[in-house]
Symmetry: C2
């Protein structure tokens, strides 16, 4: 078990403890979010193992597909990963034949990252698995409940200053 999940579990325990010790209503929204977040990440990781892909690769493929003529520096900044780590991650994707580095002709310092045909096919498979993941995770909720949950979640995201497209909150770890 990695440290982050352990952290989430610790958090869960502590918040449960808090609820008990203060005799409050057992809302525990923070606890539930931490627990479910860890669970969601865990299950997603398990799900994409069949593609022989680690979770960290998934987001990279997505961004390369979205940003045209994306270079490693841009990608690293976007994900909050160090450039030195980015090299290794891209190496792994290149090794799998999903991504190619192409030296920019205008500025030969840049490596333009492009998806191979296999990379695009992989992204399509990932998309299907993500849909399954979403469906499975929310299988216990009606469509209306799902919308309510999402609306409340977005409310917290907004109030906490989190923006889905940028994730600035995770950068300063």
């Amino acid at each position: 078990m990695n440290d982050c999940l352990f952290q989430l579990i610790s958090l869960s325990w502590l918040l449960t403890s808090l609820m008990e010790s203060r005799k409050q209503q057992p809302t525990g929204a923070a606890f539930l979010l931490a627990q479910l977040g860890a669970h969601a990440a865990d299950r997603f990781g398990e799900r994409i193992k069949r593609l022989r892909l680690a979770p960290r690769h998934a987001g990279i493929l997505r961004i390369i597909a979205k940003i045209p003529s994306c270079n490693q520096r841009t990608l690293a900044k976007r994900l909050g990963v160090l450039p030195s780590r980015m090299v290794i991650l891209i190496d792994e994707l290149v090794g799998k034949g999903l991504v190619e580095r192409k030296r920019s002709t205008t500025d030969r310092r840049h490596s333009v990252l492009i998806l191979t045909r296999r990379g695009r096919a992989m992204l399509e498979k990932l998309s299907k698995l993500a849909a399954e993941h979403e469906a499975d995770l929310c299988a216990g909720l009606t469509a209306e409940e799902r919308n309510t949950l999402a609306a409340l979640g977005r409310k917290i995201v907004h109030q906490q200053g989190l923006t889905p497209d940028v994730h600035p909150g995770y950068r300063k770890l």
Copy 2:
């Protein structure tokens, strides 16, 4: 940034992508849960830094306080940590003067773990910070919305087979 948070972010990106590409309603409940879970763990970690305590220590203190005459093996099993790792974690807490090992008189193989007075005081401080954490995280919601969110969260937890007191889902990482 550690790999787990990166994983959560990757998941976020992917699910966002999915929503866009399939022109679905942007519910993205799984995305939101992963994002908020990572955010909650992050913020909690930041919050307890002032106590010079790492998040991984918090849950351990909690369990030692809850389970009487708890030994390391039990603790390790409960948290899903390897016994060898548990030794180091307990060493850290002993070094901070929060926990003491006491050889069991009935079976001298066991180390009974007990909180020191400083350990109990630390747990009380942690409890206060956890309360602040919960309040801050849900600051954007009314009391009723908080209850709704928690109810929906519990519904997922139940349907997914997660039990807050055991966390069996995280064990097999």
